[in-house]
Amino acid sequence: MEELKQKTNAHLEEFSTQGLRTLCCAMAEIPDHVYDEWQEIYQEAATDIHDRERLLEEAAELIEKDLHLLGATAIEDKLQEKVPETIAALLKAGISVWVLTGDKQETAINIGHSCRLLTPTMELLIINRDSMDTTEECLLNYIAQLSAASNGVLPKDNDAAVIVDGPTLKFALDPDLKDDFLKLCCSCRAVIVCRASPMQKAEIVELVTIRTGAVTLAIGDGANDVAMIQKAHVGVGISGLEGLQASLASDYAIAQFRFLKKLLFVHGAWNYDRLTKLIFYSYYKNICLHMVELWFAMYSGWSGQIVYERWTIGFYNMFFTAAQPIAMGVCDRYCSQEMRLKYPILYRQNQDAFNLKAFFTWIGNSLLHSMCIFWFTYWLFGPGVLWSNGKVAGYLVMGNFIYTYVVVVVSLKSGLETKSWTIFTHISIWGSILLWFTFLTAYSYVYLILPIGLEMLGIAGLVFSAPIFWLGLVFVPLATLLPDLLFKALEDTEFQTLADKLRQCEAEKVHPKAMLEKEEPFRRPYKDDLRNLGVVQALDRVLLQGYSYMSCFFMKGSNQAAKKNAQTSGEGNAGEDEEEPEEDLHSHFSDRDSDSDEEQQSALIVRNVRLNQQDILYIDGVEEIELF
């Protein structure tokens, strides 16, 4: 018996280190009469109203004993296609990835390695204890260990991963230890929870969702993932071999794990940007229109007289400014799909676009616009003699002037904010303006047919026959939007965001590689040293032959980062070619993020030079050169 157990154990170890899913098989012989007795108890338990679960468990306990171990089986649960790439992309985008699985620890670690969540250099902090005290001790130890390097303060991004066992998790989620546990997990790059029950998965997700205030996404494919999918902010279910349970309970259902990349980086980012713009724009356009009434009240004795005709106000949101937010919210694309998939870092850039500061900027902008529109029209209007026939206009003429200018300004503003003008953008902008003109004309003469709109009778004739109206139509929107245009141009020139840089590259059809390298004005005499090493000659030779791009970058800071990148690049070379630009990008950014005041040591690492995608010349031997 013991021997069998030991053998089976050994097999299990072997299987799980290979990353296979293990199952033990055991049997027991049950005579009929025992079974019949038990069946009654079980039936009772199954039909109980109050304590069904507990009674079922107890009933199961009665029969599941004295089992005879048969052996172990192992299944290879193949990772779906492209899972490692997806996870790598997620990590690059600054998304923390935690794996919650029901597998054993070794299996989980192995899977972690194979999907590139865990890198070989990562420190694995394994928490696998069986009592509260030992768990606490272990946790605090790890925390102390990590904060040793930085004076007792837990650094934000450790090159470590936490591996927690299911039973240990029970202790770790205890109210006393919860905070420490969470702190430790959040400071590490990856977290793997193995042997987690569905309840525990949900508990962890809930803990993170509530405590950290971050937006959480839970993705799973089986019925055991339903609880956690529901607890997270966004639940994604993978519909497929394991059934539809998860996808039925989720907010989004996708067919394969790798589609998550597109879901997040393309649709998620686009929709976030669209929604932000749509919401801000809706506030903007209404404030722009209605604030004019406040300014007019200054001139109408604060009596509350509206300067527009009441039905035009009613139709503003329904007809004349309905298309613009829809076009922005449905069709706008901030940076193309290809760019977003290629450079996951873009996902990180726009994460906080919907904040108070942006909101108040828009509100201030709309107030400014309403003031400009009102006072420009007020000065244009003057004493009201706008025609060569000397006749004078009333308040409705001024009101319609202002309304027209508002519609035009608001439409053009939506165009200014749109990052990609599709046919629908054009329709929404020019179409809305045209619709307003048509409506004004129709409404001015509808009284001849129906008994409505007496106030507006003939207004279109008055408004359109005044040359000042048309001159104002060119002047007022332009003068109002000029500061906006100016601000945008300055912003794009001086403070161009990465997404905009990539957009520009795409629009001008150049490879973004060189665009991403920030140029510094001063030179340092590296050239001579490199010439001596023959590197530059090699490069010169290569560059003379047609299109080439060079993946080379300079880093400042410690050599540690250099070594790490050299290593990951070594692994990456085996993968796809598109990976490299990303990694440069990644280090480009990580170096910018890390503030290092050390003396500027630069290292030139030329990893490879590609030539017309046919001749691949690796200059791998030159791994690291220290130059001073």
Binding site: G243, L386, G390, I423, L471, F475, Q504
Partner: protein, 371 residues
């Protein structure tokens, strides 16, 4: 119990299985062709220059248009009464507590240049809030269209019923009640003595108003049946049929002065068209010549109680209407600003901007990139 979906699908043959693949249209797959506006200094530059170059001449042209309009404002709120020249009593004093009192006064002014073309005479009021909400509401459009069968609209209160005469008011409302009632005539001091300037009273209201909003009741002359139940507004000195003694067509609610008054002004300092100088008269064919003029005013309209003022404005018009230099000046200003910005951006672009071509092409002269 998880059920594999593939088991269900396998019962259908490939031919009659409906494809669940979403349609591949450009709209649904978000592949619509789009133009990406890149608003860097380099791309916005041409716009600024174009605007600057276009706007400045247009602005100068517009400013000249405005400068060519001749305009003169003659205030007369506190003009002295002709009868009381010794005591220097102003018409304002006389009219102050005496509604219905008539005072005559005379105002002299000089035109420094000839006013060529059609000359329009306006009366200008200040601090008069014709755009007040209750005021704008206070009218009865049915009455103005000639329907006298029903009671006045409740919006007209408290100007709908005359308590003293116990009759309904026609036309009711605050707007009609406060109609401008001064009568002004213009005289030119020529070599042959004082010449009256002939003024036209019609053609001052908008055609759409005249045709579709104002119509007299069938019989509104003195002694007509309607006056059994109706009376004129309290503040009026004249009866409805007396508004224009010269032209019977221009009487009643179809009187153009009333129509012009009923179109409520946009701002508290406004002017309304009063008369047009008759250019078919012999001496004034080319407009109003230079020289001395005088206005004879039958002063009945009281404005002191709300701290308002009255003036007469004589003005020619241009294609763009009355005198208003704002448009011309604003075009010039915006054009100048755009030019300045264009130059500034050009400077920024040349010195600090880098074209993508430069950045992506490595040649022996490329500066070494260093950190």
């Amino acid at each position: 119990m998880e059920v594999s979906t593939s088991a269900i699908n396998s019962t259908q043959t490939p031919e009659n299985r409906e494809s669940k693949k979403p349609s591949n249209s450009a709209f649904k797959q978000q592949r619509l062709t789009a133009w990406q506006p890149i608003l860097t200094a380099g791309t916005v530059l041409p716009t600024f220059f174009v605007i600057g170059i276009l706007f400045i001449p247009v602005g100068i042209g517009l400013w000249f248009f405005s400068e060519n309009v001749r305009e003169i404002t003659i205030p007369y709120t506190h003009c002295t009464s002709i009868e009381d020249k010794e005591t220097n009593r102003t018409c304002a004093d006389i009219v102050r507590n005496n509604s219905g009192a008539l005072c005559q006064c005379e105002v002299h002014f000089t035109l420094d240049t000839q006013f060529t073309g059609r000359v329009y005479m306006y009366y200008a009021l200040t601090n008069f809030y014709q755009n007040h909400r209750r005021y704008v509401k206070s009218r009865d459009d049915n009455q103005l269209w000639g329907q006298i069968d029903s009671d006045p609209n409740s919006d007209c209160t408290p100007f709908a019923f005359d308590q003293v005469k116990k009759k309904k008011i026609y036309p009711c409302g605050a707007i009609a009640n406060s109609m401008f009632s001064d009568e002004i005539s213009l005289f030119h001091q020529s070599l042959d003595g004082l010449k009256p300037v002939s003024l036209i009273r019609t053609g001052i209201a908008w055609d759409s108003d005249k045709k579709f909003k104002f119509q007299n009741p069938r019989n509104y002359s003195q002694g007509a049946k309607m006056w059994d139940g109706y009376t004129k507004p309290k503040a009026w000195r004249k009866e409805l049929w007396e508004l224009d003694p010269e032209n019977p067509e221009n009487n009643g609610v179809q009187n153009e002065d009333l129509i012009v008054w009923m179109r409520t002004a946009a701002l508290p300092n406004f002017r309304k068209l009063y008369r047009i100088v008759n250019s078919s008269a012999e001496y004034f064919r080319a407009g109003l010549p230079m020289g001395n003029y005088s206005l004879k005013i039958n002063y009945t309209y009281e404005v002191e109680s709300f701290h308002g003022t009255k003036s007469i404005v004589l003005s020619t018009t241009s294609l763009l209407g009355g005198k208003n230099p704002f448009l011309g000046i604003s075009y010039i200003v915006v054009g100048t600003i755009c030019l300045v910005l264009g130059v500034l951006f050009l400077f920024i672009h040349i010195n600090y901007g880098k074209s993508t071509w430069e950045m992506t092409n490595v040649d022996p002269r490329t500066p070494w990139i260093a950190n």
